[in-house]
Symmetry: C2
Subunit: 321 residues, 2 copies
Amino acid sequence: MRIGIAGYGKLGRSLELLAERSEDVEVLGIFTRRDPREVDTYGAPTLPFSSIGEYKDEIDVLCLCHGSSFDLPTLAPILAESFNTVDSFDNHKDIAGYKAQMDAVAIQNSHTSLISIGWDPGFLSLMRLYISAFVPGGSVNTFWGRGVSQGHSEAIRRLDGVKKAVQYTVPREDALTLASLVCHNLSDTDRHRRVCYVVAEKGKEDLISSKILSMQNYFLGYETEIHFISDEEFDKYHHSLSHRGRIYSLGSSGRYREIKHSLYLDLEIGSNPDFTASIMLSGARCVYKMQTEKRYGAYSIFDVPPSYFASDKSENVMKCL
Amino acid sequence: MRIGIAGYGKLGRSLELLAERSEDVEVLGIFTRRDPREVDTYGAPTLPFSSIGEYKDEIDVLCLCHGSSFDLPTLAPILAESFNTVDSFDNHKDIAGYKAQMDAVAIQNSHTSLISIGWDPGFLSLMRLYISAFVPGGSVNTFWGRGVSQGHSEAIRRLDGVKKAVQYTVPREDALTLASLVCHNLSDTDRHRRVCYVVAEKGKEDLISSKILSMQNYFLGYETEIHFISDEEFDKYHHSLSHRGRIYSLGSSGRYREIKHSLYLDLEIGSNPDFTASIMLSGARCVYKMQTEKRYGAYSIFDVPPSYFASDKSENVMKCL
């Protein structure tokens, strides 16, 4: 399988290293909007993003490693005209619309796209779906973090007077306890608090604080902490890439609902981009198989039979059963 | 969806109660080889197993609740001639052969069968497959128990001189620790020990012990404990239906494999038959959908797109993403 990597931030770099180590994958090129001569890769050739169309027939699957906030929504539908694609688009509430848009383009051009495949959305989405179907009367509570939310960090960085900013999503301790004891679905604001570290221009702290706290969908309604710190402190302490995802489910059965069932999943991720890249590369293999079977269109992980994710269909699949 | 329940042991009974509570499901009948007048159900009509063929056109999906050791391998392929079926056949090493047999019958008769769908094989099989695909360089260790293994209990009961017997599969503490610390796949015998409680005829204890310990595929190579107990003690203490399944996975990424990832899943099941029934009923809904789409043949959970397990495709699926 010959892949291309579009976008070379942390995710693209993780994907390159992983692909270079995989015997079945060849990285044909990394497409960047920066000056390709100034991009230091693990070894794959860098090419100008503007030339990507020339590689239309040489790339089996193009891995889209751009951000979800601005780049993917505009670039992905254009790239899906010329390529089979895989991405980890993660704006949960916009996924349905994004999928419809990608589906139309992919079908029209006889391409296959697998969208929103990372650890969440992606792996944990699968868990939620299967838990909802299998655990009788089951609650499902997902906790993210402690880890950086790119979307929330970006939202702060766009504010006037902000020089640097990072936002950690942190599970609320009381909610973790509650989810492990009571069969009840908690809201997102009940489950998480948001901890922000900001480097600000002098005198603008109060205004920034009030703007953060009133930001709808991002901070409003959440328990939010804001710490203004120095440039040095920021650079020294805030470069962790780790993340965590936990799911609690409680259910019951029996004549009087007296029989209890519980499920606990704890995913500790040393590097968010590395783990996401690993799932995306697995998704790229699916896209490659589906494309050879002429299964065109845009798919989410829910549309793909699990067997497509086994490296060798007949043997490894049966080993897992 | 009108279902039939074939076999009315603990699993059939759990399935009946669950189905009666589901608005979208009607239990058309329970088919038993016992005298139907002597079978006390939650309310569904009992019918002689021999009459099952008469209900061929009235049952959408037949839920096979027979045991995996003897009944399913012989009965299921016959029933798949006349019905769409779902079962939780759990002899891991025979699944491939069983599936091929069911597939041939189902295709020939334009029926759909979903096989081996319970919590393991089934739910945990899915977890193993996705973990293998997604966790970079990941180990996967599954631990069963403490809980009763029907197959192992039956194997003991067949021995001469055994009146009653139950076998608990128990994770080895050293293996649990190892799996949480080291990225290495442990063997089944490394991970589990087998604890047996037997009511025996007087004087036959030694012979029974040596026969148990030398039984290939079941006890040979395992750390095995055998306790001979009285009839009264057996009846008093050995009717728990609970079970447990845990999966540990460790992986690594990064240039020097210095970045660590870990996954821990803990499924605590209050009642094995209740939980298995819940997954089977969810599987019956899939079979029903697939049959209307003329997807004939025998499928394992690996062949079915996850979205088929969502109760309402468009809405609930997106909620999980």
